[in-house]
């Protein structure tokens, strides 16, 4: 069965620090990859997605992610975090041409002002 692993459950950073959140998935075929964010008290929102092409994808608010097929990874990065980036981040995958989103357990990011 497909699964998604997020290694960091809680991350605390100071403003202007760089961010990298890990995401690995298990599926041998074609996948679509997503990062969703949930700000406090709000609903899940799409940050960025990868379907095909350039493995480095850019999303909203300065976030980017790199798809490394050989490592089954899709790590999220941001060069300089802001206090407003405090949120929970979820990696998700759809596989085999389906639109069944499988989510990781999430990473709770706290950015200190």
């Amino acid at each position: 069965a497909q699964s998604v692993s997020q290694h960091n459950h809680h991350v605390i950073l100071s403003e202007a620090a760089s961010l990298e959140l890990g995401c690995n998935y298990s599926y041998g075929g074609t996948v679509n990859l997503f990062w969703y964010v949930q700000y406090p008290g709000q609903h899940l929102q799409l940050l960025l997605k990868y379907f095909s092409g350039d493995p480095l994808v850019k999303g909203i608010k300065g976030f980017e992610a790199e798809f490394i097929k050989s490592k089954f990874s899709f790590n999220l990065r941001k060069p300089s975090v802001q206090w407003s980036d405090t949120a929970e981040y979820f990696c998700a995958v759809t596989a085999g041409g389906t639109y069944k989103y499988i989510f990781g357990t999430g990473t709770r990011l706290k950015v200190l002002a």
Binding site: H43, Y99, T105
Partner: protein, 111 residues
Amino acid sequence: EAGVVQSPRYKIIEKKQPVAFWCNPISGHNTLYWYRQNLGQGPELLIRYENEEAVDDSQLPKDRFSAERLKGVDSTLKIQPAELGDSAVYLCASRASYEAFFGQGTRLTVV
């Protein structure tokens, strides 16, 4: 544009009681999902609809959970009877193309 609307936002019930959640997806979205999110976990799919047809309900505990999507628009998820372990956030999402849009969820507490 209105997003995915869910109600109620919060629900507290005693165990063995029934409960229902309602979802109004974004207009024109044919795919509708119900997810359950336990504390500290990511969302887990309960059921997926394409229009009014349930195309994936393999993870729906059918002994106590039921769902319907009449006319391929609004959807209702029901639990009867509720158990303590059903306490979670129930999320509805809808999709037209690649992006699934989520509602704010219903936080269910079973006491």
